[in-house]
Amino acid sequence: MELFFYLLATLTLLGALGAVLLKNLVHCALSLILFFAGIAGFYILLQAEFIAAVQILIYVGAVATLVLFAIMLTQNVIGETTLKGLGQNRWWALGISLVVITVLVRAIQHQTLPSFLPEGRVTTNEIGHTLVTTYVLPFEVISILLTGAMIGAIVVAMETKKNKQQATGDRRRT
């Protein structure tokens, strides 16, 4: 159990670091998939199997595909253009991140955290039942939000006639 935890923590941290630090954008996205899978492993370790399955489906399945498509549509994947490094404010970013780590870890160490382990586990049946009884309002609101986000994403990313003319005009000029 402990060995599994440390292995998983190493994999997840390496995945996150790779997603943030690697130079090639496609490598970043693949590293992000490793990170998502590691988080799913943590959920299984914490006995939240349904959430782990959702994590795999949504993140490793859908979000990773979206990110890869966005990279392919926006950048020239093969060649020098993918080698975009860090910005000018990297040292500020490093300082702020280190401050955040220090503060959070100190706060965690100085708390008396619960160590009680309740018996029994949450079944998918219970989750589904609670979702349509106690949490039915958030469930409906979030379905409206998802529909709105989906329509919004399509409208924003759609190639309108005006954009197209502008793009062809740019191409003629260059």
């Binding site: 996205a29 990110v67 404010n89 955040v100 382990l117 994403a153």
Partner: protein
């Protein structure tokens, strides 16, 4: 069993890594990936607390479920915006998108 503080520490380090990605990288897609890393760190906290607290364990898992849904909606809209911006200004480097600069 692994204590709760270990999970919280991993989550805190992941959050800081995501924050570094958002602040330091120039590419807008990587900035969105950093936001995703931070959201996953928050979800890991929710699930870890729901495992260790004696209260109703369903609540934490359902909160994480809602968090995942909102993150998916956010990344879809964010990447659509990135594609639209790329079509308009032909770059997605965040410090070169300065059309609104007065």
């Amino acid at each position: 069993m692994i204590p709760l503080s270990h999970f919280l520490t991993v989550s805190a380090v992941l959050f800081a890594i995501g924050l570094y990605g958002v602040l330091a990288r120039k590419n807008a897609v990587i900035v969105l990936m950093g936001i995703e890393i931070m959201m996953n760190a928050a979800n890991l906290n929710l699930i870890a607390f729901s495992r260790f607290l004696p209260a109703n364990r369903l609540t934490g898992q359902l909160f994480a479920l809602f968090g995942i849904t909102i993150a998916a909606a956010e990344v879809a809209v964010g990447l659509a915006l990135v594609i639209a911006i790329f079509r308009m200004v032909k770059t997605i480097e965040v410090d070169r998108i300065e059309k609104l600069k007065g």
